[in-house]
Symmetry: C2
DNA sequence: CCTGGTGGTTCCATTATTTGAAACTTAGTC
DNA sequence: GACTAAGTTTCAAATAATGGAACCACCAGG
């Protein structure tokens, strides 16, 4: 990760640099970036200048480091509100959380990865961006598999090609063929399980959120630990989760497509 | 807002378009943007293409609308974590919230506006992006004034020139001169009040977060309503808030500048 | 006080990219 | 079927990005 050959004119390159800073996870010096970047010194420098000037990056002159800028936080607020399912799903997730008392995730697909856009946590209620905005693998999480299972074939192929298939636990599906079999089972069943495939001790039941037309637009999951409960017990909530997913889908449909003339 | 004459080469223009979509607050059609934009049809079109291809925008082909893309949410997660005070301030805010039981805001300055990066709410604990990422005016909020009061003169001048000085309530400082007098008082006192200057019935005490060198890096406020309490009662917490601000500043100092060799 | 080195910034002729008026293609109306 | 509005593509001219090399500032060691 870092020096992708990706292009889209100047804008694409600039965003590439932005990603690079994001990937670092901490403030980075010019020379650090120069190492991982495919761009020559002067070019990289100008990009950093521009991005900083635009508020997408912030530059600490005392330490000569660059970090992601606050303008991003502002934009993300708008993005989260206008193009994620989170705002309209909120009341339904609240209900589900109240009924089940378990941790709930709301996720969407982004670039072949699972992007968590909201969360309800029984134990620690406040979590903010620290959980919303997080990304995870698609092939070994409940929400990920739930979304993959309803993806059209061509899209699925693309997404699968981006998966790393790293074996996180003994239960991880570590190759595409096995995963595809699992996806068929999920689709037949209507919901997905995570049988400690990503983290030991963590299990979940996940349900896709589908439009009337059958397109996946997201997924919800109910998560717990093997110490607290069993898969079978979680499965008992499947109906409730699917009901919630249905309500969110309906809401999304009417929100995203408000004008349906006579 | 919308058609700024702002420039920074191609990248700046593209980000300008991004802002435009964000400003709309809802999915927009090509022609909507064309109206507010200073760019000709073909140019705007190509920017939208590029941004969409990059995942910064999402395009709904059924309705021909563009909205902010989820990639932003992902970037913001990183931005929030690596360049806002929120992650390191969290435990201290939790403490302060526990002690006082009131609503707490953590804010930073961005482009002359107040950007809220975290929040603790007594009543409704979960709030996510809906509050983090929000922006507000600087000249008539507690956190805003607290930060302005410690800004160096030249920076203050720039920021003041960007304020709208809209009179939200009868108590709003509606012109720079009056505000500057208030800022001096705040600096002398060590903390700022919001005397229903932004919203009727909402009052707060706010404290700046300052580095050892005296630079403002943010502010915290304790907010309440005139129905529940009085300014004098809130002021009683001022010491506690300043203590919290001090701890956050110390933490920030050691986090942002970790390597201090022997 | 020089000297060598590293990290960062600026120059500028060359080159590739962006630009935008106009032509074109849909999709929707009367 | 002709008319209009909305969105998409073309292409020569204009502009902006490129990156090698020179430059600057700071530091450590001699």
């Amino acid at each position: 990760m870092g020096a992708e050959g990706n292009q889209d004119g100047t804008v694409g390159k600039a965003l590439d640099v932005l990603d690079m800073v994001a990937a670092a996870g901490k403030p980075v010096r010019f020379s650090d970036l120069l190492g991982t970047s495919i761009y020559p010194k002067a070019t990289l420098y100008r990009f950093l200048q521009t991005l900083t000037h635009q508020g997408m990056l912030s530059h600490d002159p005392d330490h000569g480091t660059y970090a992601l800028g606050v303008r991003l936080v502002r934009l993300a607020h708008a993005a989260w509100q206008q193009s994620s399912l989170a705002p309209l799903a909120r009341p339904y997730l609240d209900d589900l959380a109240a009924i089940t008392g378990e941790t709930i995730h709301l996720a969407q697909m982004d670039m072949g990865q699972v992007l968590y856009v909201d969360k309800r946590n029984a134990a620690r209620p406040v979590d903010m961006f620290s959980s919303a905005g997080k990304v995870g693998p698609a092939y070994c999480t409940g929400v990920g598999k739930a979304m993959l299972a309803w993806l059209p074939d061509d899209a699925l192929k693309t997404v699968l090609s981006r998966q790393s298939f790293h074996r996180f636990t003994p239960h991880t599906y570590a190759d595409p063929a096995a995963l595809i079999t699992e996806l068929h089972a999920i689709r037949a069943r209507g919901y997905a399980f995570d049988r400690e495939e990503h983290e030991p001790g963590i299990i979940c039941v996940a349900v896709p959120i589908l439009t009337k037309a059958g397109r996946v637009i997201g997924a919800i999951s109910l998560t717990s630990t093997t110490q607290r409960t069993t898969l079978a017990a979680l499965e008992a909530c499947a109906d409730k989760i699917m009901e919630t997913a249905g309500k969110i889908a309906a809401e999304a449909e009417s929100w995203r497509f408000p004008e349906q003339h006579s």
